[in-house]
Symmetry: D2
């Protein structure tokens, strides 16, 4: 491929958080450039955001529908290669299905849709469109998460027995949504966020991370959700017991009332032979523990790392990579796929980014958790 990929963005205007993250991640390796966008449902804000980003005003739109229509008419040498959707949950399905049908590949923030039914419909649309669809469960982009998965796959851990995955945050410990904090407002609003609050926002990251590393499928779960902040309509805390197919057990914690915790996603996986432990806030390290050997700390950027970890490494050892680099790794894989498409080649067989199937799995997880908790914390099997 002899040119940069071109993309447009839906959402992510002034005041947004994740839009800028996507733009940095997509631009990181010099392989893509933003050329169009519908950045806000407020046309003025969308226009201003386009100016901030040095875009051609002709390609900055007031709605995603306008954008889809206009962009679809552009000739091949100006046409978008993909669209990035970074709106709140309830506004994923609309633009995603529209752009897919219009022949654009889509990168979408998580969770994939408003509910499981939508996710299934989107899955059908993705399949029939023949376009790429990527879901930015960004934490799986970390090199040492790749390494963790490699330890499961190559048998280093033996047969898996126990998984403990936690995602504690503290930023919603008070009712900051009442003061108009934009990120808090939509996440605590069932009309925009869906049936779950905390579990949808970050519980799905935990679920995805555990599944990515272990390859295990949840057979049934027992969830106790809480809403600690008075007046809030959605859960802000959840404790979930897990039983995986094949006999492993697990616990998943997600909370946004863990005062003083920032973004402390972490996972431990215990097998018959060894175990791993990884903390998102110190992503360049991975502990590997054996029963009868010194504890090993695998560090990103070393020659001893496995091929998968090395493939997703930009910097030498000791030069910390972080959140953006992991996010960029998701894009890197999307770009590999798009470049193959553009060059008329088959997709690489080792593509490694979350897909619509991960999205459906996540929505099934949310639905099962909410159902279990409403039943008073009874065992429920996710319906995929």
């Amino acid at each position: 491929m002899r040119r940069k990929l071109r993309y447009g963005m839906i959402g992510g205007g002034r005041g947004a958080f994740i839009g800028a993250v996507h733009r940095i991640a997509a631009a990181m390796d010099g392989k893509a450039e933003l050329v169009a966008g519908a950045f806000s449902s407020d046309p003025k804000r969308s226009r201003q955001s386009g100016e901030d980003l040095f875009l051609d005003p002709a390609r900055v739109y007031g709605t995603y529908a306008e954008m889809a229509e206009a962009e679809a008419r552009l000739p091949a040498d100006r046409r978008l290669d993909f669209v990035v959707i970074v709106t709140p949950n309830h506004q994923h399905f609309g633009p995603a299905s529209l752009f897919l049908k219009a022949g654009f590949s889509v990168v979408c923030d998580k969770p994939v849709t408003f509910d499981l039914a939508q996710a299934r419909r989107l899955r059908a649309i993705v399949r029939s469109s023949g376009k790429l669809f990527a879901l930015t469960h960004n934490y799986t982009g970390n090199a040492m998460v790749k390494q963790a998965r490699a330890f499961v796959r190559d048998g280093t851990l033996g047969t898996l027995r126990k998984v403990v995955v936690e995602y504690p945050q503290g930023w919603l410990a008070d009712a900051i949504e009442l003061s108009g904090q934009k990120q808090a407002s939509w996440r605590t609003d069932p009309k925009r966020s869906g049936a779950a609050g905390c579990i949808g926002d970050i519980g799905t990251h935990a679920e995805n991370l555990a599944r990515y590393i272990t390859g295990l499928e949840i057979e049934e779960l027992c969830a106790d959700l809480s809403t600690f902040v008075k007046g809030r309509k959605l859960d802000d805390d959840g404790n979930v017991l897990l039983r995986f197919k094949g006999g492993a057990k697990g616990v998943l914690l997600a909370s946004q009332i863990c005062v003083g915790d920032e973004n402390a996603l972490n996972i431990r996986v215990y097998g018959t032979k060894a175990s791993i432990e990884w903390h998102q806030e110190h992503p360049n390290e991975l502990a590997l523990k054996f029963p009868d050997q010194p504890r090993q700390i695998w560090r990103r950027g070393n020659g001893y790392d496995g091929a998968e970890a090395r493939r997703f490494t930009r910097l030498p050892a000791g030069h910390p990579e972080g959140y953006l680099e992991a996010f960029g790794n998701i894009y890197q894989e999307v770009f590999r796929a798009l470049a193959a498409e553009a060059d008329g080649k088959p997709l690489p067989t080792d593509l490694d980014f979350p897909t619509i199937d991960d999205g459906v799995e996540g929505m099934a997880f949310i639905e099962a958790v909410v159902k279990s908790s409403r039943l008073g914390a009874r065992w429920v099997k996710p319906a995929r």
Copy 2:
């Protein structure tokens, strides 16, 4: 009190682990000396153990019954002040009740008895005996655990919302009991350990630690126990959802199949205002986290520590105290009580050691966990 306290020991002979720990802990501050013992059900081993410990052979016994009878006859100036019981669980009730009835105070290893019924009976005996009974839930002896409790009591944390307490170990990940490892043998044997394995052995420590720090009482729990090692008769892993009186929620994990984890007891308590985090393997530190201030690391031995933490501190800051010192702190409190008794004074009102009530609570916890798990992980209220 103008002399060292005198004590005898039941169990703890050659090959035992916890007996030596008790002896070091009891001797640490130069306030007590071991003068008698029935160290093993094997009279020869008991005698040899007595020799190892430089005891008068006349006060080394083949059975605890012999010992109780003989020691009870000794005059006041040679009489034992207390007895320490460090046998497996099924052999706590017998000597404890016998010595209490014979007028001796008792320090007993945990869990207190074989089952809840025994614990209740022992509670009645303790009450009617008028003697002291201490249970060595040693981890609560740590200075920074005292500090954590102080943060709950003085309102620093606000109203408690969430408790996460974990006790992962890995040493029983394989069936080492089959090879005759003594510690493993009795802990995995329902005839000696009781209805629970891992949950009884270390789950009760986690329960006790959480209750000590938070003061919260478990209203109901939902437990999923597992036995991962084939042929083992008791649980070696458990995940428990907790609901506390007053509305806080929690999770308790205990496992002995967490390969590579050593003795990684840890707890996090989240309130409306702040949270704490403590790890047993780094006991001299306590994290205190606020939503809007830098994280604080409280370290043992500093002038800024609270009165309770300072009271249980032997060494200056930066000189690490550990497991034995915390254990010794339990004894220190027992000795304060015994000294008051000996001096004919009322017991200090701030005595701080685990009692028979903690023992009953622990057994009620075990019973509820086992029941819940047998029901397929359903909610059960502990019966105290």
Copy 3:
């Protein structure tokens, strides 16, 4: 400023390391684009590198001299705003002086020149050119380094007494330069690296970091350099005693034979009132230690961070930033300056990037260290 800045690059072609880092850092915030380059002294490699980067072949040059000549002729709407120099040390002065004289601002990798004399000459050229010159001592771009400096400036630390700055690496513990490793080859070659090896390559980073945070100037130093790897011509390890103007003392360690250490730059600064500690490999945290308060861990991305730290923060707390983001922060400041220039406004007064003066200081440090060590580790005053 209503457009992206345009820049060209000298060096940084295929096989280079730091070139890609500069490109990611410069592109990170969507404010600049690479449009020209002389990426290698090998014209073919330069051309291929240009293709990798999707550049117009007409703006990819075989030498920096050609590039300077051709680019200087371009009209304003295509003209480069700045040039980035990422060649080995001995090739900094040539392109830097040429482009400055041709009216281009320059961003240059460190250390600034081959020797102190060159640095002084370059300083004169920068001054007479009226153009911007930035030196990428990237570690000072870290948000928590800004916070550390703020603690010095606002008096939190009191009067400074002691500075300990270390930069241990292990990658040159063996003679890998003999096997043709490109990064090792030029760094160990006095013709390309200058009078110092390790001290020039990373010792200057340590010196710069210490000076940036503390504002202290080295009055005299006593250095003991070593070359542990046989046959190597330059130092690969150095221990330096420091005496600062005003009475503070310090130690600076830099080494490339610290086997197993990766990029463990760290600094501690002790004042009369408090001290700070920062580790580059965990850059999002800064310890602040008082004599009579719990240790404080300041974490990037929080509302409690000072204005300077917040200004250099892209992500919320708990979302780790790393090496590239800090590097990007240097560029962010350069861009602020260039944007002001382009808009015909005065330069912001709070610009925060390393300049030619830092470069001269660094070269004076190198010269003094080498001289001191050659004298057998005697005290030497840096000549600025």
Copy 4:
């Protein structure tokens, strides 16, 4: 040996710190009991201290001279096996030489004497006495320090190149000696402490630790001592460059003005093949770093630990041992020697405690450091 060892103590009365540490350490394993003492130069305080310790008043003395005379007359079955000296530095030589000459073995706190000349004289006395003399450089008693030494001895590290040993404390950052703080008063008083303050008090620990682990001898050193607190007569901070026989280099830092640091003794040793890192405040862990393997964390109490580390381990893995246990390990070795003597057996060949030779070495180190610093930080060879 069929009885507990009997010992007396010189110093360590009410208000002292290290006396209680020695008593706990000596009693820890149930092998020794305190039976006599001259606890203070104030007879009343000595008597009260004896009462605190439940001693026979007849064996509590007003001066060490009285004690030596009286105790020497006791019959074998009551006679002291050894004497522990825990007075300030200037009062080591007197009681040590007196008791040695009277036929008692001696355990003495560090540094061994007031100056080097005294140390040499004491060495002669020890040799001619034929008694045991142990110096409590307690940090070398840590199990993981033993492991570190094993890695040097067994060649794991290869040829040693660099040693960095630090001992930062902050407790003397202000002139607390002026307010009568007892520990501070004598340590900052040249009449009681000797020619050095910080370097004598804790610099010698650092020197001893480095020598113990590496086996390297300091060939010459260059020291820059400071007295930061106004009016103080001795150094409270020192930075020392080291050159070892055989070519290794090093840095030793010791400071008591490092505000907020507690007792942060740590060491790194770099060889051609691997390196180790150990921190006293987390003594149960030892990092072992290779150039091409994951970092290893060796943890005390595991089966994989070497024989030396295992020999000095009381508790299972994950049950933290600390300062007192390491101190107790020094005593454990002294007791092995005394037991052999008592049983008429030759001393074990693997005895592992610091001796008078370590004391002389430490005093030579102090003298060389002070001399070097007085010369303006010039290279000086220790005179042993």
